[in-house]
Amino acid sequence: MTDATGPDQVTGATPDNAIRNADRADNGPVLAADGTPLKRSLNRALRREKTRALLLIAPLLLFILITFIAPIADMLFRSVENAIVEDTLPATVEALDEWDSATEELPSPDVFRALFFDLFVAAEAKEHTQLGTRLNYEQTGISSTFRSTGRGLDDIGELYQDVFEDQNELWEEADFWYAMMNAGDGAAAGDLLAAERARMAALTDEPKDGEIGFAPSATIASILPRTTREYTAFAILTALVEEDVVAEEEPWEAVFAALGLDLQDQSLRAGIEGYSGPGAAELQAALANVDSLPVVDYRAAFIEEDDDWGDPEVWRTLQTYSDRYTMGYFLNSIDLQLTPDGIQSRPEDEQIYILLFQRTLIMSMAITLSCILLGYPIAFLLANLPLRTANVLMILVLLPFWTSLLVRTSAWKVLLQQQGVINDILVWIGLVDDANRLVMINNQTGTIIAMTHILLPFMILPLYSVMKTIPPAYVRAAKSLGATDWTAFWRVYFPNSVPGIGAGSILVFILAIGYYITPELVGGTTGVFISNRIAYHISSSLNWGLAAALGSILLAAVLILYWTYDRIVGIDNVKLGG
């Protein structure tokens, strides 16, 4: 018996084989008509086609990249990004590095002093509350500490300012300051200016490259480094954020504080005495009077502003979250937290996300299951009814797509509530006592019922299209071979419809796991999903990092499920259509 297809497989010295051998033994690679190796000219021909194909899909590809891939990448990035601490308090973070968080002692006064200058600039740029909000996610209460301290910073600066202004009225003059600090015709400290521009840009998240009408003098920068630095920051923010003229604005209190520190610094003494530029006389006079300057205890001053600064816990939090990237959001997403002692679980009453993830998964499975149970018979009917009837039924299946999601969900509210239609009927029949009406809304039951209804078409359509391709002859063959109706269905029809179940389940499950509106409306407190929490963090608590981490976990869960499914069932076994 010969095979219907396939080449003959006779081995040995047949004429055909002789020709084949001759072909093979021929001198090396096969050549195209123009003498180039065939492989190369084939590749060239294919490349041209590929390029053209790529150009054709380029607009779509770009669209997908920009609108789909980019936001996801951004989300993944946000879930670990934590630059705000270092950007807002660069010097503090650096100074705090040496502090041993295990001790019960507070950080050194230097750290508090660094915090004063960092926070002062941040407050001027109105960024300090954001940092407070960020740290508040990790330790409740920090937010208000930052807000109240922001208001008291001026007082600390004024301790110096008052002394200077008592000495000489000129210190109150904006143009006196400007003349002293500005480079004018002399050498400018370009590095310092660039560094300050970068610091301000990081702080405000906006580029600070505009013209500011000021360049720090190199001479003054070398004899008064702290002062110049603060003044430059002041100049940048004044020119670019306030949009005022630097020369007409009186410097911040922090600039006076910096000047005070510079004057009290023994190592700068010689430089100031040798200085001869603008304001030299006033500076040297102030230096002579250096003893009248206050020696501020920044630590005490901060604690006076807000008791919490005296709590090492606040500093520990600040130190733990000072890295530019953090696992904090992800840990938070699974009810853990990063502490100086390592990763620990959150307090009992703050644990919520694991529960929500579990609930989301379990309820999505329940929804998928009920979609299979309801959808399978409908799809079966659709696939086996005469075409006309099937079309009418199909319209009924698609009908929900034509009404607003909101309307459909609200309709379930009407039906399911305790004074609703279903309860009324049950009471009227006498199945349910009037006093014990069923609670079917604002809980898990409500979510499952409403979402099953909404996602049902996504189960029916793939099932239908797969069932449509199962030849009726299969079941007939099974019956002719002696199978009962049930055996024929279970052993022959059902296995052939499994790809449809797979496709429908993946669709429904993935849609359900990220569903938001319906659980929000009918879920109450026990029926909400993780996505409702994500929405809350995006629109109410504005904790985008946590929202992004939760979203990333959701994404990973879906991908893992998809992968498992592929391993178990095989993704080529998923059919959305013929």
């Binding site: 219907a4 071979l481 002696g482």
Partner: protein
């Protein structure tokens, strides 16, 4: 061969309508004997599959009764009828291996494992597919699938096997091979077979009897040779084998001889089959190989004038196309013998035939 009303399968005045408006099967009477190989032959849409489906139990007759071994079949559900069936597209279960496909009818009959395995092996060997038990149907060629479908229909040893155009999808060579195998198997196992095809050669070569279907009726039910040589009406004559048809009017009838006046006025002899009175319109039917050139048939025999239109060389035979009685689709087939004349286009010849070879059928 038992062909009385007490046959193994009996269709008794069966009618079938799908839509309540037209009858797809009109008054079907058929009796099939035990061990017989009966073929239902007919053009597309003539109701063959419908008959098969009624027998298998997937359609119910609108009227009349079908008896299987003397019992009305309507009372038996399909899975209890014990009828093996080979479907037009084989209907092998794609999610099962070949061996599982074959074991399926045995499993539902609750046979134990070792018996199952033995029977599956025997059935596979029977169709010479013993090495393919572990494959999926999709991994088999068309001919191999066909053989598996056959083995599956036979593995539970049914007494009756229905086959609906099982060879329709195969190429000519394989088809001829399988025709031979199927008939051999059916006869050696002593199975009653109802075979559906619209390929007449297949019907003629395989069957004990052929039922020619048209328009929901059996036009003729006869063994292949009778069907070819003695068609009972113009449809059968035309449908089975090559045929020349000329229409005319009966001039006179004498016993088993009649004279027909063709539409162009010429007279010719024929054997009356479906005509009874002079003046009736008729179609006379003559096989191409029974026509003679320049015949010497006796003094009172009639001949026709013909013009050669085309001479076709076919190796073992010659086909000559002629214009006869105003029609130019008249063929004559002659054997390629040394003394056979080869006519050229444009020549004029006389043709004739023995009266008993030409049948005067319905108009």
């Amino acid at each position: 061969m038992d062909s009385g009303p007490s046959g193994f399968v009996v269709f008794d005045r069966v009618q079938k309508s799908y839509d309540g408006e037209t009858l797809v099967v009109k008054d079907l009477n058929l009796s099939i004997g035990k061990g017989e190989f009966l073929t239902m032959l007919g053009p597309s849409g003539s109701g063959k599959t419908t008959c098969l489906m009624m027998l298998a139990g997937f359609e119910t007759a609108t009227h009349g009764e079908i008896l299987l071994d003397g019992n009305p079949i309507n009372n038996i559900p399909p899975h209890k009828r014990g009828i093996g069936m080979v479907f037009q597209n084989y209907a092998l279960f794609p999610h099962m291996t070949v061996a599982e496909n074959l074991a399926f009818p045995l499993e539902v009959r609750k046979l134990d494992k070792s018996t199952r395995e033995e029977k599956v092996k025997r059935a596979l060997d029977m169709v010479q597919m013993g090495a393919f038990g572990g494959r999926r149907p999709a991994q088999l060629s068309g001919g191999q699938q066909q053989r598996i479908a056959l083995a599956r229909a036979l593995v539970f040893e049914p007494e009756l096997v229905l086959m609906d155009e099982p060879l329709g999808a195969l190429d000519k060579q394989l088809r001829e091979h399988m025709q031979f195998e199927i008939t051999n198997l059916a006869h050696s196992l002593g199975i009653t077979t109802v075979y559906v095809t619209h390929d007449q050669t297949e019907a003629l070569t395989m069957s004990d009897r052929v039922a020619v279907f048209d328009d929901g009726r059996i036009q003729q039910l006869a063994p292949p040779d009778t069907l070819y040589e003695e068609p009972e009406n113009a449809f059968v004559a035309q449908f089975i084998g090559e045929n020349n048809a000329l229409s005319g009017k009966v001039e006179q009838i004498q016993g088993d001889r009649c004279t027909v006046r063709l539409d162009n006025g010429a007279l010719i002899d024929a054997k009356p089959v479906n005509v009874s009175q002079p003046g009736e319109r008729t179609t006379i039917s003559i096989r191409p190989e029974r026509v003679e050139f320049n015949p010497e048939l006796g003094p009172d025999a009639h001949t026709l004038d013909a013009e050669v239109l085309e001479f076709i060389y076919m190796g073992d035979v010659f086909r000559t196309r002629l214009r006869v009685a105003g029609r130019d689709d008249f063929f004559v087939k002659t054997r390629n013998r040394a003394d056979q004349v080869r006519l050229n286009a444009g020549e004029h010849v006389k043709i004739g035939w023995l009266p008993q070879d030409c049948r005067a059928l319905d108009a």
